[in-house]
Point group: D2
């Protein structure tokens, strides 16, 4: 096989270097969040950037055993108690555009808006209005807006934006997200930014591309899935989970 190339880790005979940093130095001084930032961004974060990424990872790590990611992991732990990694992987596999993907979708929306504003020398308000009109015309959902429970505002949004302000890291991502929120309110109905929209705005301001939004969701959620699997192994019997099913297909074909 051809040798694979990589720019991430240099595992020499005496040292492992990650993005050029000696792993021994990182072990002594970096937090896991620093390391996650380094792996995905090729540099270490500032203290303010670290605080924001910590808040995001903490905020999405676990929302309960009923989320598809945690429920599928528990189902796998229930039937296959030979492999912790099998249970965690089953949970990860439920994460896609529909579950855990709104942040990444909103990052793409914000990034597209910022590019359009720059290319057209247009105001954020004008571009946000155009994007909302387009979504309205095609009845497309705007990822990152609205919430099933919090009719007015998700309290986690205020926390995230407060941290961004305290760190002096409010940037065009947050400003454009706010412009989108206003355009949605004026053109459709009040659908406040939810946590996916808030973390999307911040991750854009931290310099991450949209794809990384989904990757960081997975990194964070694996911490929660892991704890759910631990509980299933240690507190529940195998095969305890019953799901009721009603058959509505073709009737018996003969006898």
């Amino acid at each position: 096989m051809d040798t694979w190339r990589t720019a991430i880790v240099d595992a020499g005979p005496d040292h492992i270097r990650v993005r050029g940093h000696d792993v021994l130095d990182l072990m002594r001084q970096a937090t896991f969040t620093d390391h996650i930032f380094l792996l995905h961004h090729q540099r270490l974060p500032s203290p303010g950037e670290r605080r924001l990424l910590d808040a995001i990872l903490v905020g999405v790590a676990d929302h309960g055993a009923g989320a598809p990611s945690c429920a599928a992991a528990r189902l796998a732990a229930s039937g296959n108690r030979q492999s912790l990694s099998a249970a965690i992987a089953a949970g990860v596999l439920t994460i896609g555009d529909e579950h855990g993907g709104a942040g990444s979708g909103c990052m793409a929306l914000i990034a597209a808006g910022l590019t359009e504003a720059r290319n057209d020398s247009a105001s954020f308000e004008a571009v946000a209005g155009r994007l909302v009109d387009a979504a309205k015309a095609t009845k497309a959902r705007l990822p990152g807006f609205g919430h099933r429970v919090h009719a007015t505002i998700d309290p986690r949004v205020a926390v995230l934006f407060g941290l961004a302000k305290d760190a002096g890291l409010e940037g065009d991502g947050i400003r454009f997200a706010r412009a989108l929120e206003a355009a949605v309110r004026d053109r459709i109905k009040p659908l406040p930014l939810n946590i996916d929209g808030a973390l999307a705005a911040i991750l854009v301001d931290l310099g991450f591309p949209a794809m990384v939004g989904k990757l960081l969701f997975i990194v964070a959620r694996v911490a929660g899935i892991s704890a759910e699997v631990l509980e299933e192994y240690t507190r529940e019997k195998p095969m305890r989970i019953k799901i009721p099913v009603a058959y509505d297909g073709v009737p018996p074909r003969d006898g």
Copy 2:
């Protein structure tokens, strides 16, 4: 279906609480490592405990694209570019007793030794000697000892044990691991503690059961797998990976 019970997250209508802590407070003040500790240990860590867990998570996050976990993730990203979670899950699935499992295995060994020492009121030296004799008799491998590259000592071990000393967190786990290392040297040959053995000793001293050793390896490694998958998506073409295979089975059956 029956309602599932859980002791981890309480996702009420206005707040999410994790192990009784308001997630808003955690987002403001906790690091991701604090949160991982909380999810798996039911309480937040002290600053010294946090530093040790950070060092462990950083130390195992990524050892290069050729590790099975990263290689399988890249293979999946190469053939199936529709789902980031599919690639990460493929990497996770390679983690078992043979890859990423030595820490967990060594934790079980240390925990068994500590129980035996307590029950028999025996010295660590005596118990460690017995365990090594038993492994020698059955030709069982002692997980956490020896290294392919570092003939004498893995430099990451010194870093981890130095951090434990600085934090005043050297406990019976580390002491028993040292007793095992001495017994191995005296009874078999010098096979110094490797990073898996060192993190096992520390995780025992932090109060984690052996199963958590493997879970934390997975949590840490997913950060590395994620970055490897990002690189494969952004820098490499699909299906670029060729693996050479030589057939050594039955010859053609007729013509």
Copy 3:
């Protein structure tokens, strides 16, 4: 990387050969069941062997959407609609000793019994009695016996054993399974062979080792999972699945 060796497929420039057979010949003449047999057994089956393997694969392909394998696949299809393979893999991951593993477990039991009978020149009745006594003493479950629904006899068992008789393929596997059934009845209580026990007996008689029992279960069940995933994609909206969870952990910490 070193070249990998394989005895299964020889993919030359003009022909693909599987276990020495030209794939063109196999495509023309073999059934998929023949091919599965060939891949796992290194030879093609007789017509009677084929009929038995067909019956087994058909019998375990799908037992309903509520089985963990199908439920986890549907959860993944619900949250991650970007990858059919991710949904199928999530279903596969629930298969272990507890779900889909009884056949393999019973094959190991029968194989151990047959070896013991041969080595000790003992009757099947004597060896079966010893194995059941041992299981009773350690309160171990006997895989392949008993059923939640069919109090007396699972009708699928009669079908499988009838097919084996018709094909002239009743062998020591079936005879030993019957001896175990009698020993269970006499020493514990009437727990008739279930479908896992019946297919285990037949697979032993077909010459398969225990590990193949679990592999064939997976091969068969993937056909069912696949149809369940197809239905979830085409008939259900994403994220339709709700699982009720009750929190019973630590109360709010306040602060």
Copy 4:
């Protein structure tokens, strides 16, 4: 949780019915291929349809240990020997648009062409020409055409089309695929139909939608992955697989 609805399996207290058929009857009379057809098509196949589906499943079950699906499964079996299902799932996860997806892609192309021909009352030649021109203009690949090894014609194509002819099952799918092949030859260069294109044409003629093309690829390939995993478990040591990696990232940052 709400009850899940399903139209596939009715698992009553005494019988399991699949698509209205008693599973006992199916076990006695149906082949596994019949059952796969029934699960995905809601009816049993004719003998000719069965022969074609058998040929397709046999033809794609395994192309060697170096294919991403088999290589990833072997990597997982190498690092995680606790779970056969984990290894098989890792293999499945590599299957996407790029690996195993050309059949499904070609089915969508043929289906779109047939719809266009019907709606516009246009000849297959005209519609195929338009589709090829469109692909040429956008430099899109035409899935199902061309082959790395077989410069002129993949011999498996002749086998599949010969079986379709013998069974009297040549339909518009095959006719349109031939029209596409001629249009490719005339407008781009000779790129004969490959096995993915041939099975796509046949699966369209058997009445399957494009999504089923990928599902059937997975069902077939799992048989091959399963045999590869069996070989890795029984013949190779854990962690035997080494992949060479060259680091081309940032140089050491300091010392």
